[in-house]
C-alpha cells in the first residue's frame, strides 16, 4: 500500500505554548484513518498543522512531496480538502454558492455543474435548499454541505474535524454512512478526527490515539476497538 500522507515529528505551537510534541503517523492511499483522543489532546491542531494554519515544525509529506512552507490555499490546491471545526460554512452565501466555492480552485470549469448535481444526489436535502442562505440550514444540513463542499474540490484526501459535533445521533449515523460510501466509491482517502470514538472505529480502517500532543497507540480500528484497556484508559467507553 502506498502512503498518501506522512507526518513525522510534528511539533506545533500557539504562541509560547507547545500543543504537539513530536507526533508521527502515516495515512495509506484509499484508507479511512481516524485520530482519537480527549478534548485538548491535539487532534484539531494536527489537522490545522497539515494545512499550515498553525506554526509548526516537522516533516509533512503528501504524495511524497513536502508541504512545509506552503500556504494554506496552495496546500488545498494539491487536493487536500479540510472541513474545519464549526464546518466553515459561508453562512451569508447560498447553498449552491457554497458548493461552487468548493470547486473555486479547479481549472476544469465545465465539469463543475455536473459535480454539483452529483452532490445533490448524495445529499438530496441540499438540492431542496439550493437557493437558501447556508446559515439558515440546520446543523446536520450544514455538516452535509461542508462535506459536499469539500468533495467539490475532487480531493485526494479529506480532513474532517469532528463531523459529529453537535449533531443528533441519527444524523451522525447517516453522515458516517455517507463518509464510508465516499471513501469506498469515490476513492477519497479520509482522515477524521473524532471524540465519538465508538462510531469512528466502526467505519475507519486504521486508528491513532493522541494524548497531550503525542501518539500513544496505533493499530487497526478493530484491534483498538476490541482492546478493553485502551478503551477504558483513552476512549472512555
Amino acid at each position: 500500500m502506498t502512503i498518501l500522507l506522512s507526518v513525522h515529528d510534528l511539533r506545533a505551537y500557539y504562541g509560547q505554548v507547545q500543543a504537539l510534541h513530536g507526533l508521527s503517523f502515516d495515512l495509506n492511499e484509499g484508507s479511512m484513518t481516524t485520530l482519537l483522543g480527549a478534548n485538548g489532546a491535539g487532534k484539531t491542531t494536527t489537522l490545522r498543522a497539515i494545512c499550515n494554519m498553525v506554526r509548526s515544525t516537522g516533516a509533512i509529506q503528501f504524495e511524497g512531496k513536502p508541504l512545509n512552507g506552503k500556504s494554506t490555499e496552495n496546500i488545498v490546491r494539491l487536493g487536500i480538502a479540510h472541513v474545519p471545526q464549526g464546518r466553515g460554512t459561508f453562512t451569508t452565501l447560498t447553498v449552491e454558492e457554497n458548493l461552487q466555492l468548493g470547486a473555486i480552485s479547479r481549472k476544469d470549469i465545465k465539469a463543475i455543474s455536473s459535480d454539483i448535481e452529483r452532490m445533490y444526489a448524495h445529499f438530496p436535502v441540499l438540492k431542496q435548499r439550493h437557493t437558501q442562505q447556508a446559515g439558515t440550514l440546520s446543523g446536520g444540513e450544514q455538516q452535509m454541505l461542508a462535506v459536499a463542499r469539500a468533495l467539490m474540490l475532487r480531493p485526494r484526501l479529506m480532513l474532517l474535524d469532528e463531523p459529529s459535533f453537535g449533531l443528533a445521533p441519527l444524523v451522525v449515523r447517516d453522515l458516517f454512512n455517507i463518509l464510508g460510501k465516499i471513501n469506498r466509491e469515490d476513492k477519497v482517502s479520509i482522515l477524521v478526527v473524532e471524540q465519538n470514538a465508538q462510531l469512528a472505529l466502526e467505519i475507519a480502517d486504521k486508528a491513532y490515539v493522541i494524548e497531550t500532543g503525542r501518539i500513544v497507540m496505533s493499530g487497526n480500528a478493530t484491534e483498538i476497538a476490541n482492546d478493553e484497556s485502551v478503551r477504558k484508559s483513552y476512549l472512555g467507553y
Binding site: R77, T92, L93
Partner: protein, 292 residues
C-alpha cells in the same frame, strides 16, 4: 414645483458622485473592515492623471480608460506596500496608515500640479439634457455612468467566479483559504477596483467642482455618509445612499430658510445619525441570519 423637480434632479446628479465614492468605500470596507480615509485623495490623484494625459494630447476616452487601468494598478500597489503589512495590526495603526496616505497623496499632488484650480472637460457637454432646462447633459451622464457601474459590479459579483471568490474572502477569510482562495490577492483586487471606481467619481465631479488637490474633501464626507446610510455591507445600498444624500442635501439647502450652502453638510449628517439610530445596519445592510 419646477424648482422642486429641478433640485431633486440636481441632487440625483451630485448624488451619483457620492454613490461612486460610497461604492469605493464599501469595496475596501468589505475587504478589510476599515474605512479608507484616503479614498477621496486617491480619486483626486487619479483625476489629475487623467487631466495630465489630456494635456499631453490623449483623447478623452483613452485618457479615461488609461486612468482607470493606472488607478487599479495603483490601488493594488498601495495595498501590497502599505496595508498588507498592517493586516494584523490594531485598528488605530491602520487609521494612522490611512491618514498618512491622505497627507502624502495630497501633498504630492500639490507638489506636481500646484494648488491652483484647473478646468476639467466633460465628454457629455453642458447643454440642456433632451431640451429640458432641468438637468444638463453632464449631469445626465453622471447618473448614467453611475448606474452602468452599479450594474457591472452587480453582474461581476453575482455571476463570475472571481466575484464569488471575493465575496467569500470578505465574508469568511479562513474558510476561503480552505477552499483554495488566495485571500491576500482578493483584498488587493478589492483595493484596485475601489481605486478605479474612485477615479470614475473624480473624473465625473471634476468638471463641476474644478480640479485641485482639495477637491474631494467635501465629496468624501458625503460619500462616507452615503455608505453608512445605505449600509456598509451593501453596494446597492451605497448607491441608494448616495442618491438620497445628494437629493436631501439639495432640498435642505433650498427649502429650509437660513441653511443655504454653509449648513447643508451638518444637516445632512444629522439625518444620517437619525437613520442609524433607527436602523444601525443602514438602509440595505444585511443582518446575518444565523441558526445555532
Amino acid at each position: 414645483m419646477e424648482l422642486l423637480v429641478n433640485q431633486v434632479l440636481a441632487g440625483i446628479a451630485t448624488g451619483a458622485i457620492y454613490a461612486c465614492m460610497a461604492l469605493a468605500i464599501v469595496m475596501i470596507f468589505q475587504a478589510i473592515d476599515h474605512l479608507n480615509f484616503a479614498q477621496g485623495e486617491m480619486a483626486m490623484f487619479s483625476t489629475f492623471m487623467a487631466w495630465q494625459l489630456m494635456e499631453w494630447g490623449v483623447p478623452y476616452w483613452w485618457a479615461f480608460l488609461l486612468t482607470l487601468v493606472i488607478s487599479f494598478a495603483g490601488g493594488v500597489i498601495i495595498e501590497r506596500l502599505l496595508f498588507k503589512p498592517l493586516a494584523k495590526a490594531p485598528i488605530l495603526t491602520n487609521v494612522a496608515g490611512f491618514i498618512a496616505l491622505f497627507a502624502i497623496i495630497n501633498s504630492v499632488a500639490g507638489l506636481i500640479w500646484d494648488f491652483t484650480i484647473k478646468q476639467f472637460p466633460t465628454p457629455f457637454g453642458s447643454s440642456p439634457f433632451l431640451g429640458s432646462q432641468l438637468i444638463s447633459t453632464h449631469q445626465a451622464g453622471m447618473i448614467g455612468v453611475t448606474l452602468a457601474l452599479l450594474i457591472a459590479l452587480f453582474l461581476f459579483f453575482r455571476f463570475t467566479r472571481i466575484g464569488l471568490a471575493m465575496r467569500a474572502a470578505a465574508a469568511m477569510p479562513e474558510s476561503a483559504r480552505l477552499v483554495g482562495i488566495n485571500t491576500g490577492w482578493m483584498v488587493a483586487l478589492g483595493w484596485g477596483m475601489a481605486s478605479a471606481i474612485g477615479a470614475i467619481a473624480g473624473i465625473l465631479i471634476a468638471p463641476v467642482v474644478f480640479l485641485e488637490p482639495n477637491m474631494m474633501g467635501g465629496v468624501l464626507i458625503y460619500g462616507f455618509a452615503a455608505a453608512v446610510l445605505g449600509g456598509l455591507t451593501s453596494p446597492l445600498g451605497a448607491v441608494l445612499g448616495g442618491f438620497l444624500v445628494g437629493v436631501f442635501e439639495n432640498l435642505v439647502g433650498t427649502y429650509i430658510p437660513g441653511v443655504g450652502n454653509e449648513l447643508k453638510l451638518p444637516i445632512a449628517l444629522a439625518l444620517i445619525v437619525t437613520v442609524l439610530v433607527v436602523k444601525p445596519t443602514g438602509l440595505m445592510g444585511h443582518t446575518v441570519v444565523k441558526r445555532v
